[in-house]
Amino acid sequence: MASHGVPRQATTEPRTEQSRLKEQKQIQEYTELVDLIERKIAERQYTREVLELTSKLLIKNPEYYTIWNVRRRLLIHGLFSKSSDLSSPSMELPSSSQIATTTTSPADSSSSTTNTSTASKETQSNLASPNPGKNGTTLDLIKADLDFVFPLMVKFPKCYWIWNYRLWLLEEGNKRLEPEVARELWNGELSLVGKMLTRDSRNFHGWGYRRKVISELESPKLHGKSMVESEFEYTTRMVKANLSNFSAWHYRSKLIPRLLSERSASDVQRRLFLDNEFELITNAIYTDAYPYAQSVWFYYQFLMTTLVDSIGHLTITPNFTDEDRIQYVRKQLVNLGDMLDGAEDCKWIYNALLEYTLALCRMENRPPLDAERQDCTSWLAELRKLDPLRAGRWDDFEKTLRWVEVDYRLASDVTGVEL
């Protein structure tokens, strides 16, 4: 998308004649290449040569989504089926009438439906053939294409179309290759996405891709089994490398229910697990400047949600009694109070103290005690002082605090904690 983070040029003086001419030449080369591909496709040339031309264009412009689609059609309607020809002579290119509809214009959408049906017909014949040559050239083509795409991903890690195209290739692999072979490809992707996330540990394309790769590797069709333990371990490594990696904390929060369920964790083990997570996040908060970093506080919020929120209850310790939960919240309030020592300017601590003190009142079904009310008032004053950007939120909080004196159940909207 246009110019995210593109620094300004050193000068805005008019271009020199030389640079203007150079740019004209680049434009000419680019548009000629586009025209050439369009012409070849219109002539139904679904060949390796045209595939190479699309490679050339996509290197210049990986955002050109229509060209990625052209590439898909080249593979589906030309090259994949040709590769099958090697061992299965009955597999031919789509009939000329099909080609006519699919190639007149890649952008002509009437072809879209035809393309899809043609593709599925082909796939069916491929699968139906006892010796479809599935692992021969089709595999080579997919591998070559994965290799082609990788440097583009490294160079343009936020380009949606590249990630999508890569997934599409792998899904074609699922359809066309033996499960063991397809599985090998997905295995390669796991290491690839690991590299991508090492380069940029917050890239949400990368995290989404990782979830997809894992779900494929776990799927019965690829003879997979659960990887939740190793993925959980991965998030531990990622957050230990950078405590501000909220993407990793988030993923961790999503893995936990399945992790515990697959471990068939007993109530005791679940309690221990929760203790360990609190210890992990408390240590993180105590590290260097991290009391001021919001990622750790959002994970802290997640853990607290499992205690104070009726939906969150199910996440880690579903069999906790109300008394258990109250005891844990009290313990955390003491913990938070201790954190203030030396971090009196940390708004997150005051915010948490306020929020969970009111949550405790609701859990105990009582209005705040006088001491709690005074604490809340002074914490709120600190928040106003430390965090003036969110003054409107503190105003609303204050209104709620006044209401809480009348009815303690009203606090949820502002604190974000529900009963």
Partner: protein, 347 residues
């Protein structure tokens, strides 16, 4: 409409700026008008895949600036209709494959140009709104409720919103399963109150905007945990006044829209500091050559220009046309199509 960045650059260091910043309306109008005259720049050609989106961004910006007629209406409509494929969907430019995202831009532009009549007369796939509506409805996964972007199957909560946006403007929401779509959004909710690209994905301000706007169109905002979400969204504001899209990321003008409109939809826009945000957005404009950048000092482009202006409009910047938080189009245009809009009460 060209997507070429520059030539302008957003304001230099804040120290050199006058204490009271003003919006350079005339410069921005001129900047947008000139975008299509830049065919001698390579970047013009490298951004063809965003052309129709670019027309929507440029035209919306001009509407908000109070210059809705600054582009030639019939030229715009001709261009939009040239982008339509036989299946009713629109590609980013003539000859480009239809995609849901360019289709919603086409509908938004036609609505702003009062060009739906031309669509009826000249549209493909059986013609008119219904041809477009059928294309969009065909992209819904009837099992899960979400939408694919095109025939190749990518799924994203942005597509779900885009489809509902366009279908509601065309009066064709009944073509899709709205309840399933709502259920899908609910399945994307996270513990922090936010939403991601798909179930399991990290909360992201752009996706939150998409999910809240889709829920607004469906009339189902009550499924949102508004307290938690408001808290998360308000923490997007950083010291400099700008907003980021996720925890501990850099601020960017486009989030002035994604975050602020989301706060507006849940009645909590006052949970961030509007004056500081206004100042940050104004620092991102090039006051002489027009346009906005993501951050001060960077190259301007039309994408950041419209979302900067939409953010300012949402914050009530004087002289700007009022923007609709759900559609990112002028509120009065939306009211012409859908009738009076409900005010979201500030608590």
């Amino acid at each position: 409409m060209s997507l070429v960045s520059g030539p302008g650059r957003a304001g230099l260091s804040t120290a050199s700026l006058p204490t009271e910043l003003r919006l350079s309306v005339a410069a921005h109008v001129k900047y947008i008008q000139a975008l299509d005259n830049r065919k001698d720049e390579l970047e013009y050609h490298l951004t063809t895949h965003l052309r129709l989106n670019g027309v929507y961004w440029g035209l919306t910006a001009l509407h908000l600036l109070g210059h809705p007629d600054a582009l030639d209406r019939s030229q715009v409509i001709d261009f939009v209709l040239q982008c339509q494929g036989e299946n009713g969907g629109f590609g980013a430019a003539p000859g480009h494959d239809p995609h849901l995202l360019s289709t919603v831009s086409a509908v938004q532009v036609l609505v702003m140009c009062e060009g739906l009549g031309e669509l009826e007369a000249r549209g493909k796939n059986g013609g008119g709104a219904l041809g477009v509506g059928r294309y969009l409805a065909g992209l819904q996964d009837r099992k899960t409720g979400t939408f694919r972007g095109d025939e190749w199957g990518e799924e994203d909560t942005r597509f779900l919103y885009a489809a509902m946006n366009a279908l509601s403007l065309l009066g064709l929401l009944h073509l899709i399963d709205v309840e399933k779509a709502v259920a899908y959004i609910v399945s994307c909710a996270n513990f922090d109150g936010g939403y991601g690209v798909s179930p399991g994905a990290e909360s992201h301000a752009g996706q939150i905007f998409a999910c809240l706007a889709a829920l607004s169109i469906a009339g189902r905002l009550e499924v949102v945990d508004q307290g938690k979400l408001g808290r998360w969204l308000s923490e997007r504001q950083v010291e400099r006044g700008g907003l980021n899209g996720r925890p501990e990321k850099l601020e960017d003008v486009c989030y002035s829209w994604w975050v602020a409109s989301s706060l507006k939809m849940i009645g909590k826009l006052h949970w961030i500091q509007g004056e500081k945000l206004t100042k940050f957005i104004l620092e991102c404009q090039d006051t002489e050559q027009g346009g906005f950048a993501d951050r001060p000092g960077d190259m301007v482009d039309v994408f950041h220009t419209v979302f900067g202006l939409a953010g300012l409009s949402l914050l009530g910047y004087p002289g700007l046309e009022e923007v609709d938080a759900v559609y990112c189009m002028p509120r009065k245009v939306i009211e012409q199509v859908l009738g009076p809009r409900e005010e979201i009460p500030i608590e």
